[in-house]
């Protein structure tokens, strides 16, 4: 039988003695299907190359300090699909996100030549890998391997994003909603800045929403301060979220 991204996730979840929620398995399978396929601004080989750096950074038992080049240290194998400067940026995002500054972001963009939208897609790949691999690690489940890269060109579908007051990257404001963003914007009076952050790339919004709905709280239940799946209470959910964010030194 041919192995697919979905079957890779399903096999890992089913091999454990634990009953992983079907919606959580489906969410991880969904982002694994997208992981090494052509995206909006990067092709499948490039996305997989970014994913490899994220995995290397997460697994690094003796990480390089934030200010050092991980690619120069030999920790990341050279990859023909992305430049070493981008590898360094991805490593730092994956391992030392709490140390990023606006100066770093601007310098990184000069050094790598990536556009803000390409950077948003880099983040999308990073959050897919971090979510799937860290869930497996923390739950004690076998970590899924990466799918193989698929051929094809990125869609290069642009959005009417504008410079933003609350982000380094441009975002699409509610009043500029496009059909691609409708599933994420429709009916909402406002959108938290951290959700709007990825809006210049709707496929990244899809990844965020899919994972957030299954791993945390469905977006439209967010206002219910007593929402629960019947396991963790809302306060327990927020306690885990707050403690993790503090340990990651994430102010937001």
């Amino acid at each position: 039988m041919t192995e697919t991204p979905t079957s890779i996730i399903q096999a890992c979840h089913q091999a454990s003695d634990l009953e992983v929620r079907p919606d959580l398995t489906a969410a991880h399978a969904h982002v694994w299907e997208k992981l090494a396929a052509p995206g909006t601004w990067w092709n499948g080989d490039e996305r997989l190359a970014i994913a490899e750096v994220v995995r290397a950074a997460l697994d690094d038992a003796d990480p390089t300090p934030p200010w050092e080049s991980a690619s120069s240290s030999g920790r990341i194998p050279k990859n023909p699909f992305i430049a070493s400067e981008l590898q360094d940026a991805v490593y730092r995002l994956a391992r030392h996100a709490g140390t990023l500054t606006e100066d770093w972001y601007l310098t990184m963009r000069d050094a790598t030549g990536v556009t803000p939208q390409q950077w948003v897609e880099v983040i999308e790949v990073a959050i897919s890998v971090a979510s799937v691999l860290r869930f497996a690690q923390v739950a004690g489940i076998e970590q899924p391997k990466f799918p193989v890269a698929l051929g094809g060109e990125p869609s290069r579908q642009d959005q009417p994003s504008k410079p933003a007051k609350h982000h380094w990257v441009p975002v699409v404001h509610l009043e500029d909603m496009t059909p691609e963003l409708e599933p994420f914007y429709e009916g909402l009076p406002a959108l938290a800045p951290v959700i709007r952050a990825l809006s210049s790339v709707p496929a990244a919004m899809d990844t965020l929403t899919t994972l957030g709905n299954a791993q945390y709280i469905p977006m439209r239940e967010m206002v219910d301060l007593n929402w629960s799946r019947g396991t963790l209470s809302r306060r327990q959910i927020e306690f885990v979220a707050g403690r993790l964010s503090a340990l990651r030194e994430c102010f937001y």
Partner: protein, 114 residues
């Protein structure tokens, strides 16, 4: 912070030092020590993860441990989105959080975009 909001909504007293300090048993967050141990091990001591996982399952059940692991995964995602895109809070929200940010030392983070 949503933890403060969800506690206030239920008229529960919450000592926010729980988030960064020692997690004691308390009314607002049941099984806080076991949940904290899982989170802390996931970041600081991977060798301690199996024991933390088992302790949480013993205190609750396997489904709860899985959901806690999923929340950890989710905030491995959210922290990278926030810090990778330079997301900052609107000024009115920052004002409402200022006492908490100072008392918990959050304003000392490099990522404090205020």
């Amino acid at each position: 912070m949503m933890l403060r909001a969800s506690s206030s909504a239920n008229d529960l007293e919450l000592d926010l030092s729980l988030v960064r300090g020692e997690a004691n048993e308390n009314e607002a967050v049941q099984h806080a020590p076991a949940l904290a141990a899982l989170v802390d091990a996931s970041i600081n001591d991977l060798d301690a993860l199996p024991a933390a996982r088992s302790a949480l399952v013993e205190a609750t059940d396997a489904a709860t441990m899985l959901d806690a692991s999923a929340v950890v995964a989710n905030f491995e995602m959210m922290t990278r989105i926030a810090d990778g895109t330079g997301t900052r809070h609107p000024s009115d929200r920052l004002d409402s959080m200022s006492d908490m940010n100072t008392s918990m030392g959050l304003d000392q983070f490099i990522s404090a975009r205020v």
